[in-house]
Amino acid sequence: MWNRTQMAARVAQDIPEGWFVNLGIGIPTMVADHVPAEREVILHSENGILGMGPAPAPEAVNPWLVNAGKQPVTLRPGGSFFHHADSFAMIRGGHIDLCVLGAFEVAENGDIANWATSENDSAPAVGGAMDLAAGAKHLWVVMDHTTKDGRPKLVEACSYPLTAPGVVARVYTNLAVVDVAPGRGFVVREIAPGLSLADLQAKTGATLHTDG
C-alpha cells in the first residue's frame, strides 16, 4: 500500500516537461514537491498565478501571494499574475494540460464526484472544480482506493452529485494506478507491492480490466 507522499510522487513521475498543471487541494498539492527539479512544469493557481513555487519558509511568507487553498506560496522566475476571468479562460479554454483533483468517487465511464457528499448537502462548495474538470485537457484523480469504512470509491456509477461527466483519464490510489478507457472502463496499469489483482478487484466497485 502506498502512503500519501508515495501517491503524490507517483503522479509527479507521469507529468511531462512543459505542461501547464493545476493541482487541487490535499494530496494533489503535494505533487508539486515531487516533480524533479530539472523538469520544468508550470503550475497554475486559479486565483491568478502561473509559475507558482513551493511554500515559503515561515519567515519569508508574503501575505499577498496565496494559492487556491489560501495558503502562502512563492513565485518562480518567469511567473505571472492575472485576473480571475483570464485565469479561468486558461482553464475553460483548454490551455491547462493537466488538472489533478481529489474525489469522493470516480465511475468507470469517467464521471467524477468531488464537490458535494449528498444531494441534500446543505451548503456545498464547488469552487473551481467544475471548471477544471470540464476544461483541463487531462484530468487525473488522486484518492484513496476506498472510504475510511472500506466502501469502494471506484464505482460503476457515482452515487454523489457529479462534478463533471466522463472526464477522468486516470486514477492514482493508495493501491493502484488505473486508467479510465473510453468504452472499456477501468484498466489496471500498476498495483501496489504485495497486492494481487483479485485483492484489488475485491476493493473496487466496478470490473477491473487488464491489458495482455
Binding site: 496565496v66 462548495a125 470540464a134 457529479l162 461527466p165
Partner: protein, 226 residues
Amino acid sequence: MINKIVGSIAEALAGVRDGATVLMGGFGAVGQPDELIEGLIDTGVRDLTVVANNAGAGKVGLAKLMEAGRVRKIICSFPRSAGSTVFEELYRAGKLELEIVPQGTLAERMRAAGAGIPAFYTPTGAGTKIAAGKEAREFNGRLHIMEHALRGDLALIEAWEGDRWGNLTYRESGRNFNPVMAMAADVTVAAVHHLRELGDIPPDNVHTPGIFVQRVVQVVRGAPWT
C-alpha cells in the same frame, strides 16, 4: 477637472440602496476590501445580494455585514472555508439565500456583464445539478448550459494604487476578481493602498483603466490576513 478620489468611505458608498446587488472583490482575505464592506453597515442599507467568491470568515468584512443582518442572498463559489461560521449559522437558520456558481462561471458571468454579453454557453456544470433549470444545447458534440451575465449595482474592490482618473494597479494575487468586478457594476468603488498623481502609474502598468472605476478612496491598512 475629473477627480474620482473621495475623502471618506461614507462618501465612497453614497447612494447605495436597499436590495442592491453588490460585487465584492477578493479571494479569501487577499484583495478583499473589508473596510468598504463594513462601511455598508453604517449606510443602513439592507436586503443586499452579495456576489463574492467566498462567504466571509471570522467576524470582519462580509462576515460582519452578514452578522448585522444586511445580506439577503449570497452568490458565490465556495461558501465554506476556515472560519466561515457566521455564514454557516445564518444559512442553517434559513436567514440567508445561497446560489452556488462554479468559480469560472462566476468570473465569466461578470466579465460578460462588463462586455455587454447577456448570456453564454459553457460546458462547466453541464450534466450536473448546477444545470437544473438551465437551457442546455450541444455544440461540437458536447453538452453546454446557458449562463446569464451577472451585473452589480455596486462593486467594492481593493487595489494597490489608484489615481484621480480611477486607473488602478493590483498587487500579486490580490488582483483575482477585482478587475472583473470593476467592469461589471454601475458604480465601482476602489479602496486603494496608495494614491498616485495622474501620470505616475506607467501607462503600460495600468491593470484596470479608469473607465471602469467611479470612485477611489484611500484606505490605509496593512497586508491581508496579517
